[in-house]
C-alpha cells in the first residue's frame, strides 16, 4: 500500500526510537498506553498460561495411558482437566490472537496511531491479569472440579471445590474481552486513515471486527450466567437447582448462548491471520475478498443461533433441536466458503514455502478435518452417540485448538520481525510446523475412534473397557511429539530476540501498511498519517516471477 515515503527509512538518525526503546523502566511498560507494548504484555501472559495449560494436558495424557490411571486420584484428575480447560479457553485461546496480534496490528493496518481508547486497552490487560490471578489462586487453594462448563446443579450445589473464586476469575476476564471488543469496534469505525475504505481493509481487520461484535454481544450473557451460579451457590437463590425451584437445563442454554459463539471468537481471528499470510506467501490478491469479508459477519450472526446443538440429549424438545441442527448446517457454509477461497488464492501464485506459510497449510488441514467432523455433531442422530465422548474432544481440539494455534503461530512467525525487528531461523521454524502438525494429528485422530467406540470424556478410568487402551497410548505418543513441537519455537523465538538477523521494515516483501514502517515500529507507528490509494493485497505473482526470470522465457 502506498504511504508517505520518508517513513520507510527508519534507520535515519532523525527517526524516533522504536516502541521497545521508548522507555526501559518497568513502569514504562506497566503504565503504557501503547497498543504495541500492551500486545507484548499480553504475549508474555498468554504464553505463561499456555505453558501451564499444556502442563495440565500432559498430566491428562500420561494418566490415560493406563486403564486404571498412573499417578493421580480421581479428584485430582478432575481438577487437572478442569484447570486445562479453563486456562486454555479463558486465558489462552480467547485472548491469544485478538489481544496479541490484533492489538499490535489493528491500528497499524488501518493507518492509526493507536487504538481509540489506549487507557481502556491497558485496563483490559489488568482485568485479564486479575481474572487470571483469581484462577491461579483457585488452583493454588485446592483447585476446582466442575469442568470448564460449570454445569449446574453440580457447580452450584454439589461441588465442594473453589467454584466461586474460579467463576469470579472468568467473570473479570470477561470484562477484559468486552473492553478489547469495544476498543476494536470504535477504532475500526473512527480511526481509519484517509482512503482506507471499508473494502480496502485487510481481512484480518474484518475478522477482528466480527469477533469484537460477538464478544460484545455474547460475553455479558455468560458473565451474568456465571454470576447466577455464584448467587445460587452462596446465597441459595434458586435459579438452576430443582431443589430450589430452578431449572438445570436453563444453565446450559445460557452457557452455550455464549460458549458456542466463543468458538468463533477463537477461530475468526485465526482465519483473519490466514488471509494476510496466504496472500503474502503466494504473492496473490485474495480470491473473493467480499465473500471472505461477509462470511465473517455471517459466522458472527449465525453463530449466535446454533447453541442448542450442544443439547440434543439434554431433554431439549425435539422441534427445538431440529431448528438448531438446521442452523448449525447453515453456519458451516461460510467456513467452507473461506476454505475454498483460500485454495483458489494459491492457484497461479508464486508460492514461498517459508515458516508462516507452512503454518497456514497446517491450519487448513486441521481446520478442514475439525469443521467436517462438526457435521457429525450438528446432525441430531449422530450427535446422540458421539456427544460427551472423545469424538467431541477430538473435534473441538481440531477446530478451536488446531485452528487457533496454527493461526496464532502463523501470525506470530509472520509478524515476529515486525514485533521485535529480528528474524528467527527459518529451518527451525519449518521443523516446528511439521512436528506440530504431525503431533497434533497423531494426538487427536485416535480420539475420534475412541469417541465412536464410546469412551466418554472426563473419564479418569476405563478398566471396564480395556479395548480403549491402544488408542489412548497412540494419542499420548502424539502428544509427546506435539510437546516437542511447541518447545522448539519457544527456544528459537527467544533466541532470535538477541541473536536474530535484523529484519528491516519488510523482510517478506509483503503488502500492507504495517510493512511500510520500521521494525520494530516507533511509538506513534506513523510519522505522518498515511494516505491509502490502493486495494489491499496488491500483489502480482506473475510480474514478480517475470522479474525473477527476466532472462529466460516463461514456459507455457
Amino acid at each position: 500500500m502506498s504511504t508517505a515515503a520518508p517513513v520507510l527509512h527508519g534507520e535515519s538518525p532523525k527517526a524516533p526510537p522504536s516502541y521497545l526503546q521508548a522507555g526501559h523502566t518497568i513502569k514504562s511498560w506497566l503504565l503504557t498506553g501503547d497498543h504495541k507494548r500492551i500486545a507484548v504484555l499480553y504475549l508474555i501472559a498468554v504464553s505463561v498460561f499456555f505453558f501451564f495449560g499444556s502442563l495440565a494436558a500432559s498430566m491428562i495424557r500420561v494418566e490415560l495411558v493406563s486403564p486404571r490411571g498412573v499417578m493421580l486420584e480421581s479428584d485430582t484428575y478432575n481438577k487437572v482437566f478442569t484447570a486445562h480447560g479453563i486456562i486454555m479457553i479463558f486465558f489462552f485461546l480467547i485472548p491469544a490472537i485478538p489481544a496479541v496480534l490484533g492489538n499490535f496490528l489493528l491500528p497499524i493496518m488501518i493507518g492509526a496511531r493507536d487504538l481509540a481508547f489506549p487507557r481502556l486497552n491497558l485496563l483490559s490487560w489488568y482485568l485479564y491479569m486479575a481474572g487470571g490471578l483469581c484462577g491461579v489462586l483457585a488452583i493454588a487453594f485446592g483447585g476446582v472440579d466442575t469442568g470448564w462448563t460449570f454445569y449446574t446443579p453440580y457447580s452450584s450445589m454439589y461441588s465442594n471445590t473453589n467454584v466461586t473464586l474460579t467463576i469470579i476469575g472468568a467473570f473479570i476476564a470477561g470484562f477484559s474481552s468486552i473492553a478489547t471488543g469495544i476498543n476494536f469496534i470504535v477504532t475500526v469505525h473512527k480511526m481509519r486513515a484517509p482512503g482506507m475504505t471499508w473494502f480496502r481493509l485487510p481481512l484480518m481487520v474484518w475478522s477482528s471486527y466480527a469477533t469484537s461484535l460477538i464478544i460484545v454481544l455474547g460475553t455479558p450473557v455468560v458473565a451474568i450466567t456465571l454470576l447466577l451460579v455464584v448467587m445460587e451457590r452462596v446465597f441459595h437463590i434458586g435459579v438452576f437447582s430443582p431443589e430450589l425451584g430452578g431449572d438445570p437445563v436453563l444453565f446450559q442454554h445460557l452457557f452455550w448462548f455464549y460458549s458456542h459463539p466463543a468458538v468463533y471468537i477463537m477461530i475468526l481471528p485465526a482465519m483473519g491471520v490466514i488471509n494476510e499470510v496466504i496472500t503474502c506467501f503466494t504473492r496473490k490478491r485474495i480470491f473473493g475478498y467480499h465473500f471472505i469479508a461477509f462470511s465473517s459477519l455471517a459466522i458472527a450472526g449465525l453463530g449466535f443461533l446454533v447453541w442448542g446443538h450442544h443439547m440434543f440429549v439434554s431433554s431439549q424438545s425435539m422441534y427445538q433441536g431440529m431448528v438448531f441442527s438446521l442452523l448449525s448446517y447453515l453456519v458451516a457454509v461460510p467456513s467452507a466458503i473461506k476454505v475454498f477461497n483460500w485454495t483458489a488464492t494459491i492457484y497461479k501464485g508464486s508460492v514461498r514455502f517459508q515458516t508462516p506459510f507452512l503454518y497456514v497449510l497446517g491450519f487448513m488441514g486441521l481446520f478442514v478435518v475439525g469443521g467436517l467432523t462438526g457435521l457429525f455433531l450438528a446432525a441430531m442422530s449422530t450427535d446422540v452417540h458421539l456427544t460427551d465422548t472423545y469424538f467431541v474432544v477430538a473435534h473441538f481440539h481440531y477446530v478451536m485448538v488446531g485452528g487457533t494455534i496454527m493461526g496464532f503461530l502463523a501470525g506470530l512467525h509472520f509478524w515476529w520481525p515486525k514485533f521485535f525487528g529480528r528474524m528467527y531461523p527459518d529451518s527451525w521454524g519449518k521443523l516446528s510446523a511439521l512436528l506440530i502438525f504431525a503431533g497434533f494429528n497423531l494426538t487427536f485422530l485416535p480420539q475420534f475412534v475412541l469417541g465412536y467406540l464410546g469412551m466418554p470424556r472426563r473419564y479418569h478410568y476405563y478398566y471396564f473397557a480395556p479395548e480403549f487402551q491402544f488408542w489412548h497410548i497412540a494419542s499420548t505418543a502424539g502428544a509427546s511429539i506435539l510437546a516437542v513441537g511447541f518447545l522448539i519455537p519457544a527456544v528459537y523465538l527467544l533466541w532470535s530476540l538477541k541473536y536474530g538477523e535484523p529484519a528491516g521494515p519488510n523482510p517478506w516483501g509483503a503488502k500492507g501498511l504495517e510493512w511500510t514502517i520500521p521494525s520494530p515500529p516507533p511509538t506513534t507507528n506513523f510519522l505522518e498519517t498515511p494516505v491509502v490509494r490502493e486495494e489491499p493485497y496488491a500483489y502480482d505473482a506473475e510480474a514478480e516471477e517475470r522479474e525473477d526470470q527476466s532472462k529466460e522465457p516463461i514456459r507455457a
Partner: protein, 332 residues
C-alpha cells in the same frame, strides 16, 4: 492389545445409525482429500521459480462462489434431514414398550422393574422387545449411555426423561454415565445384560435371585405409601372440596387456576406432590402440604399406583423429551 474400530451393533438403532455415520465419514474423507490435494498441488506447481503459466489469474469468480456455496449447502441439508428423521425415531417409543424405571445418583445407577425387582449398576432387558426407560436423577445431571446401542439421554434432577430401544442381540454391554457428575464420574457405570425373552422372563420372575418371596410390585409399594400418607383424605374416588380425585387422572388434560392447560404426565404428578403450589387445579386452593421428603423411588412408586387408578388414554409418550409433551417446559 487389540485396536477395535467400531462398537458392536446391539440395538435397533445401531445399523441405521452406522449407515449415516459411515456416509458422513466418507464425505469427511472426500472433502479433506479434495481440499488437501488441491492445496498441495497448487502450492507445489506454483512454487516460486517454477516456470508455469501464471497469466489470467482472477481475483473473484461468481460462478465458483455459487458452486462452492451451493454444493456444501445441499449436501448439508440432506445430512440434516436424514439425521433428524433418525433422531425422531429414537424419541418415539412404541406404546406397548416394556417400562423400566432408572434412578441415577452419585455414583450409581439404580433400576426398578414394574414387578418390584430392583438392580444396581446392572440392567437386564429382553432381546427383541421394545424397552422404555423412565429416568430421573436424585442429585446432579447424569447421562445414560450405552455405546453398543448408540443411545444416550441425560438424566436430570427434578424431571423425568426417557429413552427407548430394542436390544437385538444377547450379551453384556457397557453402561456409562456420560455427563460429568463429580469425583467418581468415570466409575458410575455398569452393564446391560440383554437376554433372550424366555430367559429374561425367568430372570425377572426370580429377580436374579435377589427377589424376596411375595415381593410387592411398584404399584403395591405406591399404594402402601398412599395409605400411609393418607392421600385419600383429600384425593378419594370422587372429587371433594379439598382436592380432585386421582382416578382417571393419568394422561388427562387439567385446567389450572392461571388458565393454562396441563397434561397430567408423570413429571406433572411428581411436581404436584413435591411442590403442589407450582400449578393449582382450577377450582381448588393451595392447601396441600409439600411432600419434599419423598425419595425419587417413593415418587415413582406413587405414580405407578396412580396409573393403576385409570388413565385418560392409553399410555403413550409420557415425558418431556418425547416431543409435544415438552411444550409446557418441564418441571420448574
Amino acid at each position: 492389545m487389540n485396536f477395535p474400530l467400531m462398537p458392536d451393533q446391539a440395538s435397533n438403532f445401531a445399523r441405521p445409525y452406522d449407515a449415516l455415520f459411515f456416509v458422513l465419514t466418507a464425505l469427511t474423507i472426500l472433502f479433506t482429500v479434495l481440499v488437501g490435494a488441491l492445496v498441495l498441488y497448487f502450492a507445489v506447481r506454483y512454487r516460486k521459480g517454477n516456470r508455469v503459466d501464471r497469466s489470467g489469474a482472477v481475483e473473484s469468480h461468481l460462478g465458483l462462489e455459487i458452486t462452492w456455496t451451493a454444493i456444501p449447502l445441499l449436501l448439508g441439508l440432506v445430512m440434516f434431514w436424514w439425521a433428524a428423521k433418525l433422531y425422531v425415531d429414537t424419541r418415539q417409543p412404541p406404546a406397548d414398550a416394556m417400562e423400566i424405571f432408572v434412578i441415577g445418583k452419585q455414583w450409581m445407577w439404580h433400576a426398578q422393574h414394574s414387578n418390584g425387582v430392583r438392580e444396581n449398576n446392572e440392567l437386564h432387558v429382553p432381546v427383541g422387545v421394545p424397552v422404555r426407560l423412565t429416568m430421573i436423577s436424585q442429585d446432579v445431571i447424569h447421562s445414560f449411555f450405552v455405546p453398543q446401542f448408540r443411545i444416550k439421554q441425560d438424566v436430570l434432577p427434578g424431571r423425568y426423561t426417557q429413552q427407548w430401544f430394542v436390544a437385538t442381540k444377547p450379551g453384556k454391554f457397557n453402561l456409562f454415565c456420560a455427563e460429568y457428575c463429580g469425583t467418581q464420574h468415570s466409575e458410575m457405570g455398569g452393564y446391560i445384560y440383554a437376554l433372550p425373552p424366555q430367559e429374561f422372563q425367568k430372570w425377572l420372575a426370580s429377580g436374579g435371585d435377589k427377589k424376596r418371596p411375595n415381593q410387592p410390585t411398584m404399584a403395591d409399594l405406591g399404594k402402601a405409601l398412599y395409605d400411609r400418607l393418607a392421600c385419600a383424605n383429600c384425593h378419594g374416588s370422587q372429587d371433594s372440596e379439598r382436592g380432585p380425585s386421582l382416578y382417571g387422572l393419568y394422561g388427562s388434560k387439567r385446567r389450572m387456576t392461571d388458565g393454562s392447560v396441563v397434561e397430567a404426565t408423570a413429571s406433572y404428578i411428581r411436581e404436584a406432590i413435591k411442590n403442589p403450589y407450582a400449578k393449582i387445579n382450577e377450582g381448588y386452593q393451595n392447601t396441600m402440604p409439600e411432600y419434599r421428603e419423598l425419595t425419587e423411588e417413593d415418587l415413582l412408586n406413587l405414580i405407578a399406583y396412580i396409573r393403576t387408578l385409570g388413565t385418560a388414554k392409553a399410555p403413550g409418550p409420557v415425558l418431556g423429551n418425547a416431543g409435544p409433551a415438552q411444550i409446557e417446559g418441564g418441571i420448574r
